[in-house]
């Protein structure tokens, strides 16, 4: 029941029953209503934030909670707690702040802008059901539609001092591309590979409906004495090609591949990029897929190994 509804109920009760009791109740409610009149809030929430809830604190662009406090009798400041409630798409509560754990915050007269690191305090929120399980194991909320509600409470009485503000949001979770060809640890014939090597990978899934993404195909030579991942971490890529709109690239290596010491082992990966050129990290990582490595051998070497 809202404060206005409560007030209306008391007025009706006043007409019907004990006048003194109702007057006491009205005296208690009126200051709260007056306080609410002094505190206005606005919640701005990204429509599709990262599902990695734990990293919201590092993304000021996800949430802005604007508190406009006109000041009052208490010298122009107010000590409050901010209660956060997560609901699923149908409005069922799946997580809410434990008021005992919520820290106090003092707001002063004027406008205060808070961000997710100030109001979505995961260390104080009790989640339940599948959301709890998913958050504990992955740090992510399951994909779907949700609502976030924020409300200011008086730090002493825990009575609401603002209206509850609710905003819907949708969580999507993506799977980075999986490399297809050349397969991991594949052996390619030098006679064919020195002219063209076809790289193929699966697309980012599910297909993004809003973000424009591209793929950075990277191929590194594994030098003698290097492990594949060491080459990936330390060498300059021989191929660093941005591919848009397709998940295949035909590479003409233009390399001498007959030498027994060089250009024989390669490691490759795909980095999924946002339009701005940053890694599509989906909340974590730099968007690089699990790399594969392959080896080049002459047709004669391959034939000999088959005979063995």
């Amino acid at each position: 029941m809202t404060i206005a509804g409560l007030y209306k109920y008391f007025v009706q009760t006043l007409k019907k029953s004990n006048t003194t009791l109702c007057l006491v109740l009205i005296m208690a409610v009126l200051p709260l209503q007056a306080l609410q009149a002094q505190v206005k809030t606005q919640l701005q929430l990204a429509a599709r934030p990262t599902s990695l809830l734990a990293t919201w604190a590092n993304h000021p662009e996800i949430l802005n909670y604007i508190i406009m406090f006109q000041g009052g009798a208490a010298g122009g400041s107010l000590t409050i707690k901010i209660k956060a409630t997560f609901k699923d798409g149908t409005g069922n509560v799946i997580g809410t702040s434990d008021l005992n754990f919520l820290p106090n915050r003092v707001i002063t007269a004027g406008t205060t802008v808070l961000q997710s690191r100030d109001v979505v305090l995961l260390q104080t929120i009790h989640f339940t059901g599948s959301a709890l399980k998913a958050l504990n194991t992955t740090g992510r909320m399951p994909a779907g539609s949700y609502q976030l509600s924020l409300q200011l409470l008086d730090a002493q009485t825990l009575a609401p001092v603002s209206e509850e503000t609710t905003r819907p949001f949708t969580l999507l979770s993506y799977q980075l591309p999986v490399l297809m060809l050349p397969q991991n640890e594949a052996v390619l014939a030098a006679e064919q590979a020195r002219v063209a090597i076809t790289f193929r990978w699966t697309p980012l899934a599910p297909a993004p409906s809003q973000e424009r993404i591209s793929y950075m195909l990277q191929v590194f030579e594994i030098q003698p004495g290097q492990t594949p991942v060491q080459a990936l971490r330390s060498n300059q890529p021989l191929l660093n090609k941005q591919v848009t709109g397709t998940t295949q690239y035909i590479w003409q290596p233009q390399l001498y591949m007959a030498d027994s010491a060089a250009n024989r082992k390669f490691i490759w990966t795909v980095q999924t990029l946002y339009e701005g050129g940053y890694g599509f990290n989906n909340g974590a990582g730099d968007g690089r897929s699990e790399p594969f490595w392959f080896e080049i051998k002459s047709a004669k070497e391959i034939l000999d190994s088959r005979k063995q």
Binding site: S51, Q123, M180, Q192, A205, A207, E290, P291
Partner: protein, 601 residues
């Protein structure tokens, strides 16, 4: 820098690098002789040295005409690598040395202004950054009986879920008394790089990551192996100043993983292997501690609001014998499983694969096949995707003159839901080889034809289906003259790829290529000259796209039985057609590679 100056500076570098090593080599026999001479009084163990050492240099050049950025350099202009990999044996003591380093930073993950990829090559690194640069290996591992010390750079593989992909610079040991296995290592896997917004481009930065790993186990070779593995990785928040910005996604992380591994032979020819692992991983160490979410494991790791905990398990069993191998492997990695020892491991998946190898007809026919499925996004928080992977390779040696190899690969990928996709790749390849002899020569012809079809289908409007087809044909001829020492081979290749654009338009890429190779041994095979010429004609939608010629000349010189010198120079000319912008542009890439290697034994 002019080429002559480069060569002079290279020669100086070679001398500087090789001189101490040469002195060491000369000194070693003296030491050994001294030991021998004193053996008349008291037998002393002798010093044996095996392994290699050497130096390699790579020079890269790129000339664009007209100037522009239509082709970018893909190698460092100059790269010298020093290699010193001997193993010293003295009595019961073995001392393997692994020193491979280069003063030029080429790290892709290293910011350009620190001398990494894309830099002008003038970047400086501190001694600590040099030692912990993944580009360099500087390590020794002295061993006496069952005790081994590990110092410097080490790449250690404990198990598939604990650690194996990263190298550390640090210290540790491996003890193997009897059946027992006790291992420990502590070191740094990521060097610190401070955030620098003023650099062009800005340096994102990276935290120093310290790791430790431990293993307790028992093993009887050929019978069983049990091990308990622990690994910990932790970023040092104060290692950089200023720290990377949070918006870059580079956050100070911390992870702890424990795994239990069993490998056993359950009966003659039958094996069973399994590993179970649990990881606790914090995505941002700066976030507050929490008692409500995932649990930590004190004193190894404290739970924070950004902590996740999940499991991984794998099992395999099968039979291995001379003519038949068959095995089943399954691997599950939970959505939140993350270990610092495998930074690129893809979680949230279930793989299962059946593998087999059959050898028949007195080993003249070999069949290897595997079929399996991977399910990604198992967790309920994302849409599931399925991949079907199957391949079979069939090889038959019909006679000493004729054999055929056939190969088929299938890869399917499917996601459900509104943004669903379905991709299927089918590749079939057939490769007959025929050889025949005359009184003067042996002839070998091998032909490979590959057909590849890749179909992409969207499960959402406009439900587009894309068929991408590729035909590849390769013909190789290898003549060998009995009376001549030189060898040659010739290859012709045709490549054709057709991709639909906005139908009915297609992008058709065709490549026609011819290659010739020759190796000429001289001076009783002490000196081998080698050369290759390759020409490729590029065609798109029936029009010329450009011509490419690659010429390589080189030599391998066995100066002594132990000292080898290699030289290889490659020129790569690509000339675009009139359709290219700028028209008829061309680039010439030149690569010079040389190395001097000494083999101790």
């Amino acid at each position: 820098m002019p080429v002559t100056k480069k060569i002079v500076s290279l020669a100086k570098l070679c001398l500087k690098a090789m001189l101490p090593a040469a002195v060491t080599c000369c000194y070693m026999p003296v030491k050994a002789q001294t030991a021998d001479s004193s053996s008349k009084v008291l037998p002393r163990p002798s010093l044996n040295v095996s392994g290699t050492m050497g130096i390699s240099y790579e020079m890269y050049g790129l000339d664009l005409n007209p100037a522009g950025n239509y082709y970018t350099p893909r190698r460092p202009w100059n790269l010298v690598r020093y290699m010193f990999n001997p193993t010293f044996n003295f009595g019961g003591v073995t001392l393997p040395v692994n020193i491979n380093f280069t003063p030029t930073q080429t790290n892709f993950a290293t910011p350009p202004s620190l001398g990494g990829y894309g830099s002008a090559g003038a970047g400086k690194q501190t001694l600590w950054q040099f030692l912990t640069n993944p580009l360099n290996n500087i390590g020794i591992a002295p061993k006496y009986k069952w005790a081994q010390a590990l110092l410097g750079t080490q790449y250690l593989n404990y198990s598939d879920f604990s650690t194996g992909d990263i190298g550390l610079f640090g210290y540790g040991f491996a003890l193997t008394p009897g059946k027992f296995r006790i291992k420990f290592f502590n070191g740094t896997s990521q060097r610190p790089i401070s955030y620098d917004a003023s650099a062009t481009p800005p340096v994102i930065g990276a935290y120093q990551r310290n790791n430790w790993m431990a293993q307790l186990g028992m093993e009887e070779e050929g019978k069983y192996s049990l091990s308990l593995n622990f690994t910990k990785g932790k970023d040092i928040i104060n290692s950089v100043n200023p720290a990377p910005t949070a918006i870059s996604g580079i956050l100070p992380q911390e992870g702890f993983t424990a795994s239990f591994v069993i490998k056993t032979v359950i009966a003659k020819d039958y094996y069973f292997n399994t590993e179970f692992a649990h990881s606790i991983y914090t995505l941002d160490e700066t976030q507050p501690a929490s008692s409500l979410g995932a649990k930590g494991l004190e004193p190894f790791i404290t739970a924070r609001t950004t902590t996740k905990a999940d499991n991984a398990i794998q099992a395999s069993f099968g039979r291995k014998s001379k003519n038949l191998d068959i095995g089943f492997t399954s691997k599950y990695i939970g959505a939140g499983f993350q270990t610092a020892g495998y930074p690129f491991m893809q979680p949230d998946r279930l793989d299962y694969t059946l593998n087999t190898r059959i050898s028949a007809l007195q080993n003249n026919m070999n069949i290897t096949a595997s079929a399996g499925q991977r399910v990604n996004n198992l967790s309920s928080n994302t849409l599931k995707s399925k991949q079907f992977i199957a391949n079979i390779n069939w090889f038959v040696q019909f006679s000493s003159h004729f054999n055929i190899n056939a190969n088929y690969n299938n890869f399917g990928f499917q996601t459900s839901g509104i943004g669903g996709l379905r991709n299927v790749s089918n590749d079939i390849s057939i490769n007959p080889s025929f050889n025949w002899s005359t009184s003067k020569m042996l002839n070998l012809i091998t032909v490979t034809y590959t057909f590849s079809k890749y179909e992409e289908q969207q499960n959402f409007p406009p439900f587009a289906i894309t068929n991408n087809t590729t035909h590849t044909a390769v013909l190789t001829y290898v003549p060998t003259f009995f009376s001549k020492q030189y060898t040659m081979d010739f290859t012709l290749m045709y490549f054709h790829n057709k991709v639909p654009l906005v139908l009915p338009n297609y992008l058709v890429t065709a490549l026609y290529s011819a290659t010739g190779n020759i190796n000429v041994p001289m001076a009783k095979r002490k000196f081998i000259l080698k050369g290759q010429v390759m020409y490729t004609y590029n065609e798109v939608n029936g029009s010329s796209e450009g011509n490419n010629v690659i010429c390589t000349a080189g030599a391998d010189w066995n100066i002594t039985k132990k000292l080898t010198w290699n030289l290889s120079a490659t020129g790569n000319l690509f000339k675009y057609s009139a359709a290219f912008i700028p028209p008829y542009a061309r680039y010439i890439e030149s690569t010079l590679k040389t190395s001097l290697m000494y083999r101790f034994k």
